[in-house]
């Protein structure tokens, strides 16, 4: 009786769900079986083309990656399959450090994973594991040799399975989430001549010099999937509310200071690459890559500087700055008038 009442309450008033929210967020075993029974990815190694990541999964993964600092961390993703799209609905961390140093990280986390999923089922979350994610702090989103091996193994036994790589450092310095999603080809697969291997379609995958061989050797063994992000109606309304409070941290950020070390590292990296290139341009570095990297550094520094000078105008010195124009005008005038009222 009481639960019937609750249901009524749920449907009247709480949570303005759209029809599509319902379909995405509700896990339907029958539908899922129907999607996975035919296993079209067996016959077509490029069957999956798109990845949809939910808001909560994204934030969880980025924060977990960030919490690792310079250490690679990893975790698993929960979700489902719709046609050629893999939908990531949730994610959880594994108590295992990076895959770069430990070859078979997954087996260590296995027990944890099984237990975790049990608890998920108990509380009514029934999505299966749909892939794994790990972080590459500072060296971009691509799969290393070990990653490729891990992913190949998983694709043999855990299909459908997806590999996601997040770079928390680049995410921070660029102010934009840096995330890549990949699937490997089967071992006997002949790379097609189109050559759209591990590197992005636009070719921008800046890999540090120390890793470039690892990158180059394995880059034709996997392909990237197109990643997009989604949120529910409730998320959307929540974000609107959050923004009322959240703008403060947008304004008070200091990317220059937060990223100074990483910026230095990147400039050194560019310098090293130029050196290598001018010694021997047959190495697998293209000049375009160096150019893009240096442009990225410049842009990020410019961003940081823009926010710095904005703050200086807002809070810095009275009278020493010219009256701020355009965007700053409202705030500046407001604060000034406030001072007058006092």
């Amino acid at each position: 009786m009481e639960s019937a009442l609750k249901l009524f309450e749920l449907e009247n008033g709480i949570a303005p769900l759209s029809k599509s929210d319902e379909g995405i967020y509700c896990f339907d075993e029958d539908f899922q079986r129907q999607q996975t029974d035919q296993a079209p990815w067996r016959s077509n190694p490029r069957h999956f083309k798109k990845v949809q990541v939910s808001s909560v999964a994204l934030v969880k993964m980025v924060m977990h990656a960030r919490s690792g600092g310079d250490i690679e961390v990893m975790g698993l993703m929960l979700g489902k399959v719709i046609g050629d799209t893999m939908v990531v609905l949730d994610a959880f961390a594994l108590p295992v450090e990076g895959s770069e140093t430990r070859v078979n990280a997954q087996s260590e986390g296995y027990e944890y994973m099984v237990q975790y999923l049990e608890q998920n089922h108990a509380s009514g979350q029934r999505e299966p594991v749909i892939g794994w994610y790990h972080s590459h702090p500072g060296y971009g989103c691509w799969l290393s040799g070990i990653d490729v091996a891990t992913q190949m193994l998983n694709q043999q036994f855990q299909e459908p399975f997806l590999a996601v790589v997040i770079d928390p450092k680049r995410t921070m310095s660029a102010g934009k989430v840096d995330l890549g999603a990949f699937r490997t080809f089967p071992e006997d697969h002949q790379p097609d001549s189109s050559g759209s291997g591990g590197a992005d379609k636009d070719g921008f995958q800046s890999v540090p010099l120390s890793k470039i061989e690892d990158f180059g050797v394995h880059s034709d063994k996997y392909y990237p999937l197109e990643v997009s992000y989604f949120k529910s109606t409730l998320d959307q309304r929540l974000m609107e509310r959050l923004w009322r409070k959240h703008w403060v941290s947008t304004l008070s950020q200091s990317p220059l200071i937060a990223n100074s070390e990483f910026t230095t590292q990147k400039i050194n990296e560019v310098a090293e690459k130029i050196n290598t290139f001018s010694r021997d341009s047959t190495k697998s570095i293209s000049y375009g890559q160096i150019l893009r990297e240096s442009e990225a550094v410049a842009e990020e520094t410019a961003q940081g500087h823009a926010s710095q000078s904005l703050k200086k105008r807002l809070f810095g010195c009275r009278g020493c700055a010219p009256p701020p124009a355009a965007a700053g005008a409202g705030a500046g005038a407001g604060a000034g008038a406030g001072a007058g009222a006092q």
């Binding site: 769900l17 995405i24 929540l238 240096s294 200086k312 006092q342």
Partner: protein
Amino acid sequence: MARTQVTAVVHPLVLLNVSEHTTRTVACVRAGKASAPAVMCGALLGRRTDERVEVFLSFEVKPGADGGLDAGHFAVRLEQLKTIFPDYEPVGWYAVGAGTQPTREVARLHARVLADHPAALLLVFDAALADGPHGGAALPIAVYETLPPAPVERARLQWPQGGEGGYYVEAPGGGGGGDLVQAVRLVPVRVTLDSGEAERVAVEHVANVARLTTDGMLRGAGGDAAAAAAEGGDWSRMAAFLASQRNALEMLASDVAVLQAYVADVIADRAPFDPDVLQLVQRVLSSRPAVLGDEAFALADAQEQTDCRLAGYLAAVTGAAAAVRSLSQRANIALAGARNKHAAYVSPAPPDGMFGMAGMMGHGRHGHGRHRGFGSFR
């Protein structure tokens, strides 16, 4: 009663997590895949100091059979998360409602939770998110702390409760006969929002880049995914950055305008005098020129400016070098082709590298003269 005011600092991840929990539960109930739970609830993890409780994480907990939270489930999940985030401890629990006031069921559950965790906070998430007169602006959550039990008239425990003094819940093991019962009081605490740097980027990404679910996604078509990618791709990162800064400034301006109107009203005797607010305004204003004539600051600022320009300059030089390189390559090919249709192929990336550009040009010139020397290429 003199007591330190607790502030609850909530991270956006917690809210998104609760939002996902709600959406998933409602979706499954509607599709008939699950029965409606009595209360949607979960645990909050974070750090606690005397006056500040910071909530970083949350996880859902199913209600137990006995009307409390499922203790076994809670313990296992907590253990799992502590393996990965050893710094966090349980600080309270959350419940989803159609407003930010606790209901009778929530209060009852809270009494059960208190038995095990006497200091637990209660967070109520307003899933209706109605754009009411007060809504629209406020955070859709309220956090309550529990005051120690004190004797209260029994009548005050009757639901619906609400209003000034907070909410009364019978204390565990309290009771007894008579008109007075031992009851704890739930009082709302100050809530602020905080996010780490990475969290901020991720949340902004959700706010600006992530799109609402569409029916297309369900059919696996996801037809507008490419369009959306193009949409996001066309925007330079600088433009996106400036847009978000601008939005933040607009918020600042509107908040300052509100404060200004309030102060004007107080002066004109049209609004009640609130010492707290005015003190805050005063404090902000008096500290406003944060730095004034500080040489060290000016120096550091100038240094940052120089660094920034230098980075731009380096990028420009690199760009120019690239342009020259590509021009020389093209010229090389064009010249070779013009002189002799069967001219030798001249490597566009000569082994002496990009800084041997003069050499490269020379190469080109030599190329046509000595093309027989390169004949082996063809």
